[in-house]
Every structure is written in structure tokens, then in C-alpha cells.
Amino acid sequence: MRAKTKRKSTGTSDSDDPSTEPTALTNLWRIKKYLRPYRVRLGILWTLVLLNIISGLAIPPLVGRAIDGPIDDGDFSRLWPLVAVIGCLGAADALINLVRRYFQTTTAMAIEADLRAALYEHLQKLHTGFHDRWQTGQLLSRVTTDLGMIRRFFAGGLVFAITSIGMITIILAQLLWIEWRLALIAIASAIPLFLIGRAFFRDFLPAARAEQDQSGEVSSAAEESALGIRAIKALGRGPLMASRFDVEAKELRERGIRKSVIASRSWSAFGAIASAALGAVLVFGAILVANGQMTIGNLTAFIMLQLALLWPIEASGWVMAHGNEAMTAADRVYEVFDTEPAIQDRPGARAVERSDVNGELVFENVRFAFDDDPREILAGVDLTVRPGETVAIAGKTGSGKSTLVSLPSRLNDPTGGRITLDGTDIRDLQLASLRHVVTTAFEEATLFSMSVRENLALGRPGADEHDLEEAVRVAQAEFVYDLPYGLDTRIGEQGLSLSGGQRQRLALARAVVVKPAVLVLDDPLSALDVHTEELVERALAQVLQGTTALIVVHRPSTVALADRVALLHEGRIAAVGRHSELMESSPAYVDVLSAESEEVAA
């Protein structure tokens, strides 16, 4: 079990064991930043809470006066004005309650939404390496469940906690005033309560954390088997996936129960200790009364007040659990907030305008290694792409082509060497403007459940009809006009009813719409049939004329697009030249790009 948890945590988060950190409360405290915009509202809210307590407390004495006065005297004419006052107070109490609750939820929801928006914004900035490691389900459970817990704490638990602390203090003061010896017994009972509370914090926090983490695992499992449904169905592995899900869900159940067992230890003791203290006070009080050291009236009042203590003490167990869960939630949320985006603007980075870019892209001794693997995938790449030139990158599967093309738009940063655009290190350019100038299209088209238009205009929201038409034509994606609602048709997350070739053409069109100075394409035509490929190439060739382009190719037919080809071999550029030259001079190149040898062998 332990080993499993260990493996999990490395799979889902980068941080060390989070439960040992005493930062839980600090992280919850950090949320105050998000409360600040609502401070006026919160001020009103607290005032209303106070008023509500007062209005609630004001009624019983009046009722008492009504009974002792007019009713006892049998004077109806004096009764109804008093009842009218009670009625008005009651109406006010109800109204204040309504307004407070209305404000409370509205404000809490607003704060939750703000936090969610901030978290989303932060996640957008985190580099792909982070997203590769974190399962979407884990992120999702932070954005939904955890934020919900924090919201509920601020909307309910906190109000509750403060009210009960207030009540406990007031009552204790009253008790001391009435009879200090008895009050000491009541206060002494706070010692075991405190000890139990401390143990509760120590044990419950990690248990709550474990449950929340596992809930993220369950979401991840659910999400993955929905995304991979075709692969699962194609192999008939539904039952296997279900049994794996079962393991996660069962673990969640176990952790949920474990958490409750811990909670039960203290909650039950809370109520029991409080009522045992009451018993002790009663017995000792009775002795005091019998000895004439205390009046019966005082003892009754004392016990009545202590009875009123029972409820807030019992409730504090619930409040503590709530608070604990909110702390864990805040911890999990800040785990994300505290991850610094690895790819950021350097200080003093400058913006770059599309019109100022010549488009000379130079790789200087570029090296790259994954953070968990010391071996370099790129071991010193030197390559110059001249303005307006199209260079194809060829190489075996796993030679690092896809890594190489992720560098110019800084989806990854090289671990050594540098890349320059018109002589400036791209890390000295503002990220947003760099990606405006350099556009990358991947082999696997990521389409979103949105209209075709929205998908096409992904990189240029302001693109007009003409731009879209042009791009659709270049990518030979005219099929979009035949969809039921044309460009307004919603296509699914996985390009649903679209074939691989259609999706790829959409992705290509999307890149073309941007009209960047530097276009990077990762094998953009692999899923197209020969005929379509030829048409696309012809149209694309025109687009590429004024554009610097880097294209990963797998097939000789795509090479035709390029002015020069670079062969990536063992992390370096082994050869650069025209296709025909390389076919003659480089055996490695022939091996990678020529189908001829196979033809001959066949």
C-alpha cells in the first residue's frame, strides 16, 4: 500500500510529502488576498451577523416579560403592544437573516469564482512539462472540489466558528461571575478538549489530504477512460478499466472511512466531556448549595448557561473538521499557485512586432534533456534558417525532431545553448509577442468542442471571413462548408465525426490563419492521402514563400516543400543540404527518407 501511494505521488505532483509541512494554516491565510475586494461587503456581512445574534437574543426576555407581566396580571390591553413589539422584532430578525444569508452566499460564490479564475490563469502559464506530469483529474479536483470546500468554510464554517467562540467566551465570563469555583471545573474540562483538539489537528489533516488526493485520482481515472474510450473498446478492455477504477474507488472509500474514524475519536469525546463536566458541576454545586455557600437560583442559572455551552462545544468538532478540510484544500490549491512557470519573460524582455521581424532563426549549440533523464536528446544542434527559407527536419523516430520544433516558440526551453530570432535570444523577447511571431502546429491536431470557426481562429481571434477562407483553401479543408451548419458547426473535443486527415487539415488551416513570420510544422501532412497532400503542398508552397518555416518531415513527398533539409541524427544536425544532394551524399539520410530500398527489397 505504502509503495503504491509513493508511486502515485510521484506521478501526480512534484512536491515532496505535503502532509509534513506545517503550512496548512498559512495557505488558508493567504487566501485573504482574494477577500480584499469584498471587504466592504464582508464588513456589512459581519455587522449583519452581529445584528442577527442580537435580534435573536432580544426576543426571549420580552417573551418572559409578557408572561410575567400582562398575562400574569390578566391585562390584555397591555399584552398586545408588547406582542406587537415582539412581532416587529421577529420580522426584523427574519429579514436580517434573509439579507445576511443572501449576501453571504453571493459573496462566497464570487470569491470562489475569483479564485477559480486566478487558478485557471496560473495553470495557463505553466509550461507543458508541468501539464505532462499532472493528470487533468488532479487539476480538476482542485479547481472544483477544493475551491468548493474553501468557499463553504468562508460562507459557513468560519461564521459558525466565530459565533461559537464568541458564545463560549461570553458564557464562561458569566460563569466566573456567578461562582468561580464551579467555573474552574467547567474550565478544567477545556484541558482534555484542548488535548483532543490538538490530536485531531495532527491526525485529521493528513487523513483529509489523503482523501482529497485520492478523489483526484478517481477523477483522473474517470477522465482517462472517457478520453480513451475508443482504445478501450477496440481492445475490449472495459472490464479491465473497470477493475482498475474499482481499485481507486475502493481506496477512496477506505480513506474516507479512515478520515471519519479519526474524526469520530474527537467528536464523540467533545460531547461526552462537556456533558460529564455538566454532571460534575451539578454534583459539586449541589454540595455547595447544601452547605449554604451558593443559592439554588445561582446554581440553576449556572447550569442553564452551561447547557447553552454544550451546543457550541459539540459544534466546534464539526467546525474543526470543516476548517481542516479547507486548510487541506488551500494547501492543494497553493501547491499549484506556488509552481512557478518555468518559462517566463526574462527581466527586460522586449516586445517584438510582426512587421519588424526578418525571420532569421538560428540554433546555436542547442541542447535539451528531460528533467528526469540526464541523457541529452539534443546534444548541440547548430542550424540557421534564413529569412523566408523553408527547412525540413528529417530523422528517425525518437531522434528529437518534435522536441526541436517545440523550442522556437518556447514551449520548452533548451537546457543549453540558445536560439536567436534576427540575432536576439528568443528568451529576451516577451513570450506573448514571440508566440505571435512564431506559430507551431503539431502533428496531432487538438480540436476543442467549439465551432469550426472558433477552432480555426484559435491563434488569431480577430481573423475575418476572408482569412479563414484563404486558410481553408490552403489546407484543402473545404469539407468544413459541408458540415450541417458550416463554420458554425460544433466539432467535438476529438474532432469526433472528422477523420484523421480532416483534423490534420483543420490544424494546418489554423496555423495558416495566423500568418506568422516563422511557421513551425510538426509533420503536418502525415494523415493525408497522396492526392490531397499534393494539393495542400502546392497551396502551402505559396504561403511559405514569404515565411521562415521549419517543418518536420517523414516522407520524401513532404520534403518537396523545403528549400533545404537538415538531418537530425543522435542529437545533432548530421547533414544539411538539398534533398537530391543528401540522397547522394548521406547514407543515413537515404535510410531515413527513402522508400526505394524497401521497394527494391519487396
Partner: protein, 616 residues
């Protein structure tokens, strides 16, 4: 620049059917809502039934606990009324000691009850949730690909995360409060009726008001919470997709637009969620108001009664105290009503999922294929995804066992549809598809999948190591067999070069590997599955030429004694086929061996020539 209209409808686009987002049980009309509510109640019943005994046990514990807590005031009263006089008058401590012991006993009972209740209820609640999770997961697994395409993975996730969370909250908090409050209401009502029926009757006049308020709230809030469950689902769909595709978002600098859309959904959700809570505020204020109204009525009427000498002051005082004890827990409960309504809406959503009809159902009496040869037949098969677009008009095709058939044709010719029909992702609208003479609809899922495996173009890798991903082809197989499979398809070399070899974690969706590498892993997985019929849908498109060469060499051996259907744009893959079918608009235009088709000079010959030209 054209300023775009930012209404959601415009960016989300129009869907083929308005109900795309819902299960068919969730239509908007009154009738469906009523049915949905019945269904969700049934679901709740079916969740609780296996735990009937534990639930009764819990109710028992709670009853003991309530009785125990009610004993406290009585003990105090007894101690003051009898214990103190005994000490003061006779120096007799025995009564007080008895009270002390009773107090200790009550505390112990309370301790045991609370502890038992928390642990037991958590066990029952978590087990019920676990069983529901399993049911929902399995249901989603059995629903057809068509359903998933419509419903989207984000929504599937939302049902299994946010909706489940709503229900969990219900089981975790407040059920005990609900039961206690209910017991409280009943006991107090009975006590009041016993003490003074007339006064009780007048007090109970406020009941109808409470009921009306409750009715109003549950009606309007059901709508609000239903809406909120949907807005949160849309939010989750957006979140899951944009985080899954974050690479594209970053590469296209879509962050701003993305944030704008997300924040729109976030705000929608915020207001939808707040709506129900705001209605709850009315309910809460209303309940308090009714409580005060009851006090006022009681004071006036009861006061008049006392003055008339019809009742005692003490009775009135007791009534007023009981009123407070009556309404206080109810006020607490109103808060819990939020959780309850939210969970009810979630249950409705989930029962909609469970009731969704499976459009590719398991046969009731599955037939067996004794020794599969792998013969595939299409008899008069008609198929369309949308009414107005026939994909396959009337397909008749026989693929004898062991034959390798390549499907060639333009996009939209129906190649992938044929593949999907053979692997029963869909059922034909007309005619039948059969394996060795048995209609696919009569084969059990397990039998079908053991015999027919499709490699799709999406190369999906699961979270886990490379070995685990390959092993999916035949779960439980030894490491040697996994390595062997990888060797056959030519994946061994690159896998060995990874930091942890076969135990390298592929990261989310295989982000650690290139598209070509993922394809090889998927190939190894399918090879390990060792089916009679193998379908390759564009399974080699991402491979570079050396890998493709390896795969092709492997395919010759792998496919030698198997039936295979290959869809490929690259004719190099097609060349290993025994037979080529050229499709156009769902109709077979040419049918023959590759060589014979080249000689006949038709469509295939043209394609082949273009392809050969592209090689240089």
C-alpha cells in the same frame, strides 16, 4: 479586425442535435422532469437497499443518542428538585451520587453512540458512494462510442467528479441532523398535543405555512440546482479540454481568449450556483419569520386563554420553550436543504446516465464461435451518422478468413465506417455484419473483442509505464512477452533507450513520446492481443520510413494467418494486401489484387502512380 459576438452560442457552435449535451432522460419538458425525479428516487432506493440493516442500525443509534441528550435536562431538574433538598435537609448524598452516576452513564452512552454513528455512517455512506461510482463507471464503459462522441469526455468526468462530490457531501454532513430534527419535530408535536390540545392546534396552524414555503423552495430550487449542475458540467468540459490541449493554447497564444471564455462560464456557474442559495436565504428568513409568528400567535391566544382561566401560565411557558426547541433545529436544517437539493439534482443527472439506453447492446443469448476462422461478411449493410447523409448505401462484402484487405478511397468514402462496423463501435442501420456466420449483434462483447481488434488513428496511451501500456493487449502477460511484442513491431530499440526502459512513465497521454513512438507502442499492444481479425485504421501514418519499413516487415508475418482490414493513405502499406477495395461514396468501385488493379488502369492505378511519383 472584426469584433466577434461573444455570446456562448457563437463560439461553442451549433450542435447536430439540441440534446447533444444531455442523456435522453434529461429533456426539458415537465413529463421528463417528473420521470427523472422518479428515476432518481429509484436510484436512491437501489443505493440504500443493500444497506437496509445498517441504516436501521444507524437510526437505532441516533434514537438512543437523542434520548440520551434529552435526559440531560431531566437529570438537572431531578438533581435540583430532589438532590439538593436531600443533602440540605438530611445530609443524604445518595440521590446526588445517583444523579452523578446517571450523568456519567449518559456521557458514556453519548460518547459510544456518537463514535459508533460517525464510523458506521461513514462506512455505509462511503460504501454506497463506492457502489454508485462503480455502477456509473461501468455504465459509461458500456455506452456506445456514438454516445461518448456526443456527450464528450469532459461531461463524463463531470458526472463522476462534481456530481459525485455533491452526493458525498450529503452523506457526510447533515443526515444525522435531518433524522434528529425529524425526531425532534415528532416528539415535540406529541408532547404539545398531550399537554394542551387546543393550544397545540393553534400552534400547529403555522405548519401549513411551513409546508408551503418548503414546497415553494423545493420547486424553484430544483430548477436552480439542475441548472447549476449543468453549468458546472460545461465549466468542467471546458477546463478538461483546455488543460488537455494546453500545448495548443500556449502555442497559439490563446490564453486571453481562453480566459475570457472560461471566465464567462465561471461567471455563469457562479450565478447559477448562487441562485439556489439565494432562494435558500428566502427559505431561511421565512422559516425564522414563521417561528416568530408562531410565538406571537401563541402569546396572544395563549395569553387570552390564561386570562380566561382555560390554561396555566406554566403550560404557556412550556409551549414557548418547546417552540424554540422546535424551530431551532429546523433553522439548522434549512442550510442542509442546500446540500440536499444539490445532491438530488446530481442524483437526477446520474440516474439519467444509468437509464440511458445502450445503442450497441449485449445480446441476451450470445452465440459462440467454436473455432474462429475470421470470415467477415457484410450483407446489405446500410449506414449513416446523420439522416441526410448516407455513408454506406448497401454494402455487400465477403472477406474470407486469413485474407488481408486494404481499403482505399478519398476522405468520406466510408473506409473508417467499415472498420467501425466490424469492430462494432456502431451497429448497421440496415443489413448485418457477421463474423464466421454469426451476426456481431449475437456475439458477447468478450468474444467479439477477443477476435476483433482495431488499432485506431488516435494512438491513445494511458497514464502509466510503457510496459503497462503494451500489456493492455493481454493483461497479466509476462515481461518477456511484452518485450517480444515490442521487438516484433520495432519498438524495442527506442524503448530501451529511454531512462527507465520499459518502466518509463509515458506521462499524461503519452506526452513523453513522439507521435511515431506512441504509434509503435499501440502496435505492440495490438500484436500482443493476438486477435483473429486485425483492423488498422491509419495506423502507420505517423511512422517515419525506417519504422514503417520495420512495421511492414512485421505485418507480413503477423497478418499471414489472420484476417486483416487495412486503411492507409500510403500505398506502401497497401502493397502487402492480398486484395484492394477502392471505395467511393460507400460503394465498392474496384476489387482485386493490387497487381491486377494496377494493370486494369482504373482509380487505383492512378493513385499508385501518384504515390510512386511522390517517393522520389
Amino acid at each position: 479586425m472584426v469584433v466577434q459576438n461573444d455570446k456562448h452560442a457563437s463560439w461553442r457552435g451549433r450542435s447536430e442535435s439540441a440534446e447533444a449535451d444531455r442523456t435522453s432522460a434529461e429533456l426539458e419538458d415537465e413529463e421528463s422532469i417528473r420521470q427523472l425525479r422518479t428515476a432518481s428516487r429509484k436510484l436512491l432506493g437501489s443505493m440504500m437497499r443493500p444497506h437496509k440493516r445498517s441504516i436501521w442500525f444507524l437510526v437505532g443509534i441516533l434514537t438512543v443518542q437523542v434520548l440520551g441528550s434529552m435526559s440531560t435536562p431531566i437529570l438537572v431538574m431531578f438533581g435540583i428538585d430532589h438532590g439538593i433538598p436531600a443533602i440540605a435537609d438530611h445530609g443524604d448524598y445518595s440521590v446526588m451520587i445517583g444523579v452523578g452516576i446517571a450523568f456519567a452513564a449518559a456521557s458514556i452512552i453519548e460518547y459510544v453512540c456518537v463514535r459508533l454513528y460517525i464510523v458506521q455512517s461513514s462506512k455505509v455512506g462511503n460504501t454506497m458512494l463506492y457502489e454508485l461510482r462503480k455502477r456509473i463507471f461501468w455504465k459509461f464503459q458500456r455506452l456506445s462510442v456514438a454516445f461518448h462522441e456526443r456527450f464528450t469526455s469532459g461531461r463524463v468526468t463531470a458526472r463522476q467528479s462534481a456530481d459525485m462530490e455533491s452526493i458525498r457531501e450529503l452523506t457526510e454532513n447533515g443526515v444525522d441532523d435531518l433524522v434528529m430534527a425529524a425526531m425532534n419535530v415528532v416528539t415535540i408535536t406529541v408532547v404539545m398535543l398531550v399537554i394542551d390540545p387546543l393550544l397545540a392546534a393553534v400552534t400547529l396552524l403555522t405548519f401549513p405555512l411551513m409546508l408551503m414555503l418548503g414546497r415553494w423552495f423545493s420547486k424553484v430550487s430544483a430548477i436552480a440546482y439542475r441548472k447549476a449542475r449543468e453549468t458546472v458540467a460545461v465549466l468542467i468540459v471546458y477546463f478538461v479540454e483546455s488543460m488537455g490541449g494546453v500545448r495548443a493554447v500556449q502555442a497559439y497564444r490563446r490564453e486571453d481568449r481562453d480566459r475570457e471564455l472560461f471566465s464567462g462560464l465561471n461567471t455563469d456557474n457562479r450565478f447559477a450556483q448562487a441562485k439556489g442559495h439565494q432562494q435558500n436565504a428566502f427559505m431561511s428568513g421565512g422559516m425564522r419569520g414563521i417561528g416568530h409568528l408562531a410565538t406571537v400567535v401563541l402569546l396572544l391566544f395563549g395569553g387570552w386563554q390564561v386570562m380566561q382561566g382555560n390554561t396555566e401560565v406554566g403550560v404557556l411557558a412550556a409551549f414557548l420553550l418547546y417552540m424554540k426547541r422546535f424551530f431551532d433545529p429546523l433553522n439548522e436544517l434549512v442550510q442542509f436543504y442546500n446540500v440536499l437539493q444539490s445532491a438530488t439534482s446530481a442524483l437526477e443527472k446520474l440516474s439519467g446516465v444509468l437509464d440511458e439506453e445502450i445503442d450497441v447492446p449485449e445480446p441476451e443469448a450470445p452465440q459462440k464461435i467454436a473455432s474462429p476462422r475470421g470470415e467477415i461478411r457484410f450483407d446489405g449493410v446500410g449506414f449513416h451518422y446523420r439522416e441526410d447523409q448516407q455513408v454506406l448505401p448497401n454494402l455487400n462484402l465477403r472477406i474470407p478468413g486469413g485474407q488481408t484487405v486494404a481499403l482505399v478511397g478519398a476522405t468520406g468514402a466510408g473506409k473508417t465506417t467499415i472498420a467501425k462496423l466490424v469492430s462494432r463501435f456502431y451497429d448497421p442501420r440496415e443489413g448485418s455484419v457477421s463474423l464466421d456466420g454469426v451476426d456481431l449483434r449475437d456475439l458477447s462483447e468478450a468474444d467479439l473483442r477477443a477476435n476483433v481488434v482495431m488499432i485506431t488513428q488516435e494512438n491513445f496511451l494511458f497514464n502509466g509505464t510503457i510496459a503497462e501500456n503494451i500489456e493492455l493487449g493481454m493483461p497479466g502477460v509476462s515481461r518477456e512477452r511484452i518485450v517480444e511484442a515490442a521487438k516484433v513491431v520495432g519498438a524495442h530499440e527506442f524503448i530501451e533507450a529511454l531512462p527507465d526502459g520499459y518502466d518509463t512513465h509515458v506521462r499524461k497521454r503519452g506526452g513523453r513520446l513522439s507521435a511515431g513512438q506512441r504509434q509503435l507502442v499501440v502496435f505492440a499492444r495490438a500484436f500482443l492481443a493476438d486477435p483473429r481479425v486485425l483492423i488498422l485504421d491509419e495506423a502507420t501514418s505517423s511512422l517515419d520510413i525506417p519504422s514503417e519499413r520495420l512495421v511492414q516487415r512485421a505485418l507480413r508475418t503477423i497478418l499471414a494467418d489472420r484476417t486483416a482490414i487495412i486503411i492507409a493513405h500510403r500505398l506502401s502499406t497497401v502493397e502487402i494486401a492480398d486484395r484492394v477495395l477502392v471505395l467511393s461514396q460507400g460503394v465498392i468501385e474496384e476489387d482485386g489484387t493490387p497487381d491486377s488493379l494496377i494493370e486494369s488502369g482504373g482509380e487505383y492505378a492512378t493513385l499508385h502512380r501518384q504515390w510512386a511519383d511522390s517517393l522520389v
